[in-house]
Each structure stands twice: as C-alpha cells, then as structure tokens.
C-alpha cells in the first residue's frame, strides 16, 4: 500500500512516480498496464471536451450564477491584456472553463472532486500547449497526480464537507503540482516538494459555497488552484525544498480540516456564503 509520499519517492527510485502508480493500479485491478493507460487516455479526452464546452459563451448554470466567463479571460490572454502572460493566463482560462462546464451540468472528470475538477486538466493541457509534450507524457502525469491524490485521501481527505476547500482545491493543486514537475523532467523528490508547497499554500482554505451550490466561490478557486500548482512546481523545479516534509503537510491539512467548524465545511453557512450578498443570493435561489 502506497500510503505516504515518502514511500512513493523511495519506491520510484531512479524511475518515475507515474510508472510506479501504473504498475500498482494494473496489479490491483488485475489488468495490463496498457489497459490502465487506455482508461486514463479516455479521461484525458473528456477533460479536453470539458474545456471546449466551458469555452462556449452561451453556457449558463441553472442558477444563472456561472457560465460564459472563461471565453472572456481567454480573449484577454489572446490580446495580451493579462499580467500572467500566456501560461498562467491560459491555465486560468481553462480552469475556469472546466469548472464552469461542471457548474452548468456539463461532463467532467472529478479530479479529485467535481468542485475542483478544473485545476489538474488546466495545468496539464496548458503545459502541453506551451511546451509541446505529447499525450503519452500527459497520461503519465495524470497517474502521478492520481497516486498523490490517493495518498492525500488515505492520510487526510479530499472531501470539502470533511476538510474544507483545502482538501478539494488544495489537494487538486498538490496533485497538479507534482504532475507538472514530472512533465518537465523533475525528480520524484521534486514532485514531492511541489506537492508540499501547493498544499501548504492552501492550508486552511474553507469550503463556503453560496447557496450550497458548486459555483461561488468554487469556480474561481479553480483558477487560484492552478496558479498555486504552477508556482509550486516552479519552486520545486528550481531546486527549492520545502522545510516541512510532504506527509507532515498532508497530516497538518487533515488536522486543520478537523479544527474547522461545520459552518466552514460545505454547509453554505460561513465564509462568502454568510455575507449579506451571499445570503441574499441563497434566498433568491431558494425561491427558484
């Protein structure tokens, strides 16, 4: 059982975390590594389709709170009007697109959850666009992300109701950060460092959905999640080490989740959900 990031790094050795993850999954499901990869390739195609759907300007959610915002950001990037340049800009636009696709009852891949589904695919698809890596490498990176997520789920939680948004968007960012490191040729240890940074930098993030819906702030948290992943990966790839080991950061995230009062764990009763405007929106939604 791969239940710590330290084990992942040790067992990956001179190889990659993704190769280790694929072998483990094939063994567990009693199928070939090739079939395991095929399944992940299918997920990658769904992720692409979610971006496309989320980029439709006419998209809107049942509540009317989200939809159509991603193409605006994409346009700003294309016109060179963003601070973040192409990589951050397009990763943000894609994260927004997938998260809005989800909010509007589109088809998505939970990664690790539906509410945080934009972060990992936005990071990988944008890296592919900017650095030109092929799908095989993206599939490898998805396995790295998956096994990192598995360790987090095993030691802590990836559920907002249990651990707040740090457990959803924070975990997604940690998964994406490790995946990006591997995609850019970093070592398993660098992937672990990136995971630490991303999770540490979202420590304490609360789950405060307005009206209880997966829209505000969830859609925008996917954008901050992908930028968190990119900066965490950059620090790790530059050789910066996180002073706190990854497994200890994960355990701290679990503990912080347990300290959070119920009103900050997906109940829609705290944070931005509890603001005057958040409450007004919730009342309006209840009368829909």
């Amino acid at each position: 059982m791969l239940n710590s990031i330290a084990t992942l790094v040790a067992e990956a050795g001179e190889g990659t975390i993704s190769a280790l993850a694929q072998r483990q999954e094939a063994l567990q499901d009693e199928i070939s590594v090739e079939d395991v990869r095929k399944k992940m390739a299918g997920h990658l195609e769904v992720m692409r389709a979610s971006v496309e759907e989320g980029m439709q300007p006419s998209l809107h959610s049942l509540s009317g709170l989200s939809g159509g915002q991603a193409p605006r950001l994409e346009e700003a990037v294309k016109e060179g009007r963003t601070f973040g340049g192409e990589l951050i800009g397009m990763a943000s636009a894609r994260a927004l697109a997938i998260a809005e696709c989800n909010a509007c009852m589109g088809r998505i891949v939970a990664a690790p959850t539906a509410g945080s589904c934009g972060i990992l695919p936005a990071a990988l698809l944008t890296a592919q666009e900017v650095y030109g890596c092929d799908d095989d490498h993206l599939i490898d990176a998805l396995f790295t992300a998956a096994v990192v997520g598995q360790v987090i789920a095993d030691r802590a939680t990836v559920s907002g109701a249990e651990g707040g948004c740090q457990a959803e968007c924070g975990s997604a960012a940690a998964m994406a950060a490790a995946a990006l490191v591997e995609l850019r040729g970093g070592t398993p240890d660098m992937a672990a460092q990136a995971c630490s940074f991303a999770l540490m930098n979202s420590m304490g993030l609360v789950c405060d959905p307005v009206g209880g819906l997966v829209e505000v702030p969830c859609v925008y948290r996917n954008v901050s999640g992908v930028t968190n992943a990119i900066t965490a990966a950059d620090m790790a790839l530059a050789g910066i080490r996180c002073p706190i080991p990854t497994d200890e950061v994960i355990d701290a995230m679990r503990d912080v989740g347990q300290y959070l009062p119920a009103c900050l764990r997906e109940t829609g009763e705290g944070g931005v959900a509890a603001t005057e405007t958040g409450q007004a929106i919730a009342r309006k939604l209840a009368q829909m």
């Binding site: 567990q28 992940m40 891949v109 992300a145 598995q150 789920a153 819906l213």
Partner: protein, 224 residues
C-alpha cells in the same frame, strides 16, 4: 478511508456536474431504485430531504434522479434534459420536500409505480463522492451500495430461512462478501441483503424464488 480506493476513484468518475453527491449520487440512487422496481417507471413521487431539499434545483438533483429512473448513467449528457425526456416518454413525475427522522443529509425517498402497476418505495442516501446507500425498501431497513452484485430477499420471518438461502448459495460456490438482515416485526416480513463477489447462476436465483417462505427475490447487478 476506504482501503479499496483506486487511482480511478481519484481521477474520476466521469460525470455530469456539478456535484458528485448531489448530481452523480442522486442519479445512481434513481438507477438503483428503477432496477429494484424491475421495470420501466410510469409514475414517480420524489421527496427530497435535508440538503437535497434545500439545493436540489441548483444542483440538478431533480434531473439526475429522473435520469437515473430512466437508467441513464452518471456521465450521460441526457441528464440535463431528463425532465423533458421523461415527459415525452409519458412518465409522470412529482417533486416535494420531506423531513425524515434520522436521515442522512442527502436523502431522497422515491415512491415508484412501474408500467405493469408494480409499486416500490425506496429511501436512498448519497453518502459522498458519488457513492450511495439504499437505506430502506418498502419500509424495511437495508444497506445496499450497488458496488457489488446484491441479492435482496424478502421472506417470512421464521427460523431456518437464512440457513436455507446460504446453503443453496454455497452449493453453487457463490461467495457472500457482506450481509445484512432486518425485519418489520417478529414473525412478520424480513429482508436479507447479500453483496456477492460473483453473479449467482440463474438456476440458483430461480430456485430461491420458489423456496418455501420466500416472498420476493431481486438480483441487483452492480452499477456500471
């Protein structure tokens, strides 16, 4: 955490948004209830409880349940327009909210009538990440996750019933993974749910159906 967590539980499932619990889980409860009914649904009285009651419209929980009642998968894009599709198919759907005592926050009660007039009442909870648990069938307490093939047997509450069923299954080398049993009142009706590792052979299920004291046998195949 669940020790059987797989990588594709982390990257996955593929689903229609926005919520694994309020959309995907709701769809799976609908699908399971439809399979428990065993025929196409003619009328559905759908009562939402707890968080489902307060947010079902915004999460598309209503559409997801109705899509599930038409056997749509959690990733089927028709979930979005399931209410229209149901109307076109002549399915009569009614929504309400209800308070059920001690219910999980994401609970729905389904009262279904099938095309041949068969009725069933199912209470299901969406317990997180798209996982579900059917908690009641026709007022009898059960625990069905639909992650494995499940044999559901309604029988007279009398001595020896459970032993007879298990002996028959073991004769066919069917391994029972989990099992739960409950009853309405002593000497009344009892319900037995068994999660199985393998699909039992059809002749065994038929033999169960004609066994003395057994009222009804439903074989619920695991949800794909």
């Amino acid at each position: 955490m669940d020790m059987e967590m797989h990588l594709f539980d982390v990257i996955g499932p593929v689903m229609i948004g926005p919520s694994s619990s309020h959309t995907a889980g709701a769809c799976r409860i609908g699908r399971t209830a439809m399979r428990l009914l065993g025929e196409d649904v003619k009328t559905a009285d759908i009562a939402f409880c707890g968080s489902f009651a307060s947010t079902y419209r915004g999460h598309g929980t209503d559409r997801a349940v109705v899509g599930g009642l038409m056997n749509f998968h959690t990733y089927d894009e028709r979930l979005r327009s399931s209410l229209h599709i149901a109307a076109e198919r002549g399915m009569d759907v009614h929504f309400s909210t209800v308070n059920l005592k001690n219910a999980h926050p994401n609970t729905v009660r389904l009262r279904l009538t099938g095309v041949t007039g068969r009725n069933i009442e199912v209470v299901g909870a969406s317990v997180g990440g798209g996982a579900i648990e059917i908690r009641q069938i026709d007022g009898l307490n059960v625990s069905i996750t639909a992650r494995k093939h499940t044999l559901i047997i309604v029988q007279n509450d009398e001595p020896g019933m459970v032993a007879n069923v298990i002996m028959l299954l073991s004769s066919a080398h069917v391994n029972i993974a989990t099992m739960n049993l409950s009853r309405s009142n002593a000497g009344g009706q009892a319900i037995m749910c068994m999660e199985l590792d393998d699909l039992p052979p059809e002749p065994i299920v038929d033999a169960l159906r004609v066994m003395r004291g057994i009222i009804r046998v439903t074989l619920l195949k695991k949800l794909g």
